[in-house]
C-alpha cells in the first residue's frame, strides 16, 4: 500500500482514536510526543534525541499510589491503544530486545500493557547518520524486526509494508487514504534500502567473539584508558534505546504519596552503593567495564542478543567523545 505525502495529516487524523506518537520538538530536542492539533510532526529528521522507549518505559512512572499512614494501594497500570509513527528500525529492534527483560520470569504489567497496546509504524532510514552502525549488530536501515508497518519514503509518497495483524488493522482504519502500491514502488523501495546499507560508514568489529571473550579482559588496562575522560553523567544510558535500568523511590506531597520508578544509570556511582558505604564499582573504570560487559556479554548470556542496536546516540551525544565503536575495536584487538 501507498500513501501520498499530502495525505499524511489526514492519515494521522484517521487513526487518532488511538494516541498517536510522532517525532516533535519539545524544547530544543526531538522526542516522540503525542500528536495534537497543530502539532509539527518531523519525519525528515534523522532520529529523535530521546529514544521511543520513553513511550513504553516513561522516564518517570507511578507504580503505586497511597496515602501516608494508610495501607490501601492503587496500582495505576496505564492502558490505551497507541500508535508510534516514524520509529526507526534500530529503535524498534531495541524494543524487542528490552521486551526480554520486562517479561523475564515475572511480567512487568506497566511496560507490557503499553507494549501490547502499541502499534509501531516504522520509517526506513534512507540517509543513515555518520555514527549509525546498525548493520554490524544484527540490524539494518530497513529492518522489519519489531515493526507492524514499515514506511519507505519514495519521494512523493510513502510505501507502506504491512508486517503484522496489528499493522493490518491500523491500515484498515485509514483505508480511504491509501492506494494500492505497484511493483515499481516496491522495487524503488528495495533499491533505496540497499543504497542505505551502503551509506553506512562505521562498522563495529566482528561481534562474534566478543560476548564470550569479554570476561577474559576483566583486568585489561583498556577499561581505565577509555573511562578516564568519562564525566559519569547519564547521557549514554538515558539516550540508549536498549538501556532499561531504573530506580524506585517513594515521594510524598503532604499526605499524598506514591512509589515511582525513574530512569537510572549504571554510570552513576550511587547505582551500586551499599548502605554500609561499600561500593563494588567505586570508580568510572569499573562502571564503564560493567556497562560494556552488560551490553555485549551478560545480556547475550541471558537473552542471546547483544543489547546494542547501533543507533549511534551515545557516540553523537557523549560530551567527551567516548566512542563505543572505539571501545569495541580495542576489545576486538585485545581478544
Amino acid at each position: 500500500m501507498k500513501i501520498n505525502k499530502d495525505k499524511l495529516a489526514d492519515f494521522i487524523a484517521a487513526i487518532s482514536e488511538q494516541t498517536v506518537y510522532a517525532p516533535q520538538k519539545r524544547g530544543e530536542a526531538l522526542v516522540f510526543a503525542p500528536v495534537a492539533k497543530g502539532s509539527n510532526v518531523n519525519l525528515a529528521a534523522a532520529n529523535t534525541t530521546i529514544p521511543p522507549k520513553s513511550v513504553v518505559f516513561p522516564q518517570t512512572e507511578t507504580l503505586l499510589r497511597f496515602e501516608l499512614g494508610k495501607t490501601d494501594l492503587e496500582a495505576p497500570v496505564q492502558e490505551g491503544k497507541a500508535v508510534m509513527l516514524g520509529v526507526r528500525p534500530c529503535d524498534a529492534r531495541a524494543m524487542v530486545i528490552v521486551d526480554n527483560v520486562f517479561s523475564w520470569d515475572v511480567d512487568d504489567p506497566y511496560y507490557l500493557q503499553k507494549r501490547a497496546d502499541l502499534t509501531l509504524v516504522g520509517l526506513a532510514c534512507l540517509e543513515p547518520c555518520v555514527n549509525c552502525f546498525c548493520s554490524s549488530v544484527g540490524g539494518g536501515p530497513a529492518s522489519k524486526e519489531g515493526l507492524d508497518v514499515l514506511m519507505t519514503d519514495l519521494g512523493d509518497g510513502y510505501l507502506l509494508e504491512v508486517l503484522t495483524e496489528k499493522g493490518q488493522t491500523l491500515c484498515q482504519s485509514a483505508e480511504g487514504l491509501l492506494e494500492e502500491s505497484v511493483k515499481e514502488d516496491k522495487d524503488a523501495a528495495e533499491k533505496l534500502h540497499a543504497a542505505a546499507v551502503n551509506k553506512i560508514t562505521r562498522q563495529a568489529p566482528d561481534t562474534g567473539p566478543i560476548p564470550a571473550g569479554l570476561p577474559r579482559l576483566w583486568e585489561d588496562p583498556l577499561w581505565a584508558e577509555v573511562s578516564e575522560s568519562c564525566l559519569g553523567c547519564g547521557i549514554c544510558t538515558y539516550l540508549c534505546p536498549t538501556c532499561h535500568c531504573f530506580d524506585i523511590q517513594d515521594e510524598s506531597e503532604g499526605c499524598d504519596s506514591r512509589r515511582c520508578r525513574t530512569w537510572d544509570s549504571c554510570m552513576f556511582p550511587e547505582y551500586t552503593l551499599h548502605a554500609s558505604g561499600h561500593n563494588p564499582r567505586p570508580t568510572r573504570r569499573e562502571r564503564t567495564r560493567n556497562r560494556i560487559n552488560h551490553k555485549y556479554s551478560y545480556f547475550v548470556d541471558k537473552f542471546n542478543v547483544i543489547a546494542c542496536v547501533g543507533c549511534g546516540r551515545c557516540i553523537n551525544l557523549c560530551p567527551v567523545n567516548i566512542d563505543i565503536l572505539n571501545i569495541l575495536s580495542k576489545v576486538g584487538e585485545a581478544l
Binding site: 519539545r26 524544547g27 530544543e28 530536542a29 522526542v31 534525541t49 530521546i50 522516564q59 518517570t60 540517509e127 547518520c129 555518520v130 555514527n131 560508514t201 562505521r202 584508558e225 578516564e228 575522560s229 564525566l231 559519569g232 553523567c233 547519564g234 547521557i235 538515558y238 539516550l239 530506580d247 523511590q249 515521594e251 515511582c260 525513574t262 530512569w263 544509570s265 552513576f268 550511587e270 567505586p282 570508580t283 568510572r284 557516540i315 551525544l317 560530551p319 567527551v320 567523545n321 567516548i322 566512542d323 565503536l325 572505539n326
Partner: protein, 327 residues
C-alpha cells in the same frame, strides 16, 4: 600561530618530569569535528596532542573528577602533580578551585593555552552535515580554517564561534606555570546584553520560556558533572537522606534542580559554557548562570577565577559589604 611541534615538545618534557603524574590535553576525536580529552603518561603519547579552535572541553574539571582511591597499606600517597592544558576560561576554573581550596597549588602544573576562540560544534554540524572523516582546524588571521579529510579547506569566521567567545575578556590564562604561545587580544567587553534581553520580559513570558526548556530536561546531570566548579562529593540535589529534590523528572523537580544549581554557582561560575555545550537537549543553561553573575558583579564588584588571592564574597564577610538589597 600554533606550533604543534612546540606544544608536543613542551608536553613531552612535562610528562618526563619526575614530579608530574600525567598531563591532560586534547586530541582529535573519533569522527568529524570532535575532540576528546587525552591523558598523557608517556612522552610518545604526547604526539597526539592538539590545540585548535575545536578544543572546547574545559579540562580543569578533571582536576576534581579523578577519584581518590585509598592508599594500599605500606604505600605512600602519590603526591605528584597533574599537568593540565587550559585556555583562558578554563584557567579561571583552576584559579577558582584554588581559591576555594578544592585543589592545592602544588598538585597542579598549569599549561596556559592563549585561545582565539572555539567553535560551536552544533553550528559546524549544521553547516557541514554528515561530516564523517576527522577534520582539523586552525586559527588563521582572525578566521578559522577547517581542513577536511578529502583535502578540501574551508574558512569560516566569527559567526561559527561559541557565544561566550564573542564577549571573551580572558583569552589568556590568568594563571599558568608555562604558556604555549604569545598572548592574544581580548575579543569582547562585558555588557550582559544577553541577560538584559531576558530581564526585559514579563514574569509570565520568562516562566513560559523556562518552562519550555526545563520540561525537556532529562536530568542526565551532564551539566553538573562537566562543571569544574561542581565537585561536591555528594551533590545535595542527588541526596536521598533527606531528599531535597525528588528523583522524578517533571517541570517542578527540574526547575528546582536548575535553579538550585545556578544559585550554588553564584559568584563561582567562571562562564566556560561547558554546561550548555554538553546538554543533550540544548537547554540554554548559561542564561541562568549569567544572570547571577551579573547580580554578583553589580552587588559585590567580584569576578570569580581571576585572582588567586581573592576572598569570595558569598563566603566571607567585609564590613563594607553593600547590603542595600537586604536592608
Amino acid at each position: 600561530m600554533i606550533n604543534l611541534e612546540k606544544i608536543r615538545d613542551i608536553a613531552k618534557n612535562t610528562v618526563s618530569r619526575d614530579d608530574i603524574k600525567y598531563l591532560i590535553g586534547w586530541r582529535q576525536g573519533t569522527y568529524g569535528f570532535r575532540v576528546s580529552p587525552h591523558f598523557v603518561r608517556k612522552p610518545e603519547e604526547a604526539e597526539e596532542l592538539i590545540f585548535s579552535p575545536l578544543c572546547s572541553n574545559n579540562l580543569a574539571t578533571y582536576l576534581t573528577l579523578a577519584e581518590k582511591r585509598p592508599v594500599p597499606r605500606g604505600q605512600q600517597p602519590d603526591t605528584r602533580k597533574v599537568a593540565v592544558m587550559v585556555k583562558g576560561c578554563d584557567s579561571r576554573a583552576v584559579v577558582q578551585q584554588l581559591v576555594e581550596q578544592g585543589i592545592e597549588r602544588e598538585s597542579v602544573y598549569i599549561i596556559g593555552c592563549p585561545c582565539e576562540g572555539v567553535v560551536d560544534q552544533s553550528k559546524l554540524e549544521e553547516k557541514y552535515p554528515g561530516t564523517f572523516g576527522q577534520v582539523e582546524a586552525r586559527w588563521e588571521n582572525g578566521k578559522i580554517s577547517l581542513c577536511f579529510p578529502e583535502g578540501k579547506t574551508e574558512v569560516v569566521g566569527e559567526e561559527l564561534l561559541t557565544q561566550k567567545c564573542l564577549t571573551c575578556r580572558y583569552p589568556n590564562p590568568v594563571l599558568a606555570d608555562i604558556n604555549l604561545r604569545e598572548e592574544v587580544a581580548a575579543r569582547g567587553n562585558e555588557s550582559f546584553a544577553d541577560v538584559a534581553e531576558l530581564e526585559k520580559k514579563s514574569t509570565k513570558d520568562k516562566w513560559s520560556f523556562w518552562q519550555d526548556k526545563f520540561s525537556s530536561c532529562i536530568r542526565c546531570y551532564s551539566c553538573r558533572n562537566v562543571c569544574p566548579m561542581c565537585y561536591c562529593q555528594e551533590c545535595i540535589l542527588d541526596k536521598l537522606n533527606p531528599t531535597w529534590v525528588n528523583r522524578s523528572v517533571n517541570i517542578s523537580e527540574n526547575t528546582a534542580y536548575h535553579l538550585a544549581r545556578a544559585f550554588h554557582l553564584a559568584g563561582r561560575c567562571i562562564e566556560c559554557g561547558e554546561c550548555e555545550r554538553v546538554c543533550p537537549v540544548n537547554i540554554p543553561i548559561t542564561k541562568l548562570n549569567r544572570k547571577l553573575t551579573k547580580e554578583v558583579t553589580e552587588k559585590f564588584g567580584f569576578e570569580p577565577g581571576v585572582d588567586v588571592e581573592a576572598k569570595p564574597p558569598l563566603v566571607g564577610y567585609r564590613p563594607d559589604d553593600k547590603e542595600n538589597f537586604i536592608l
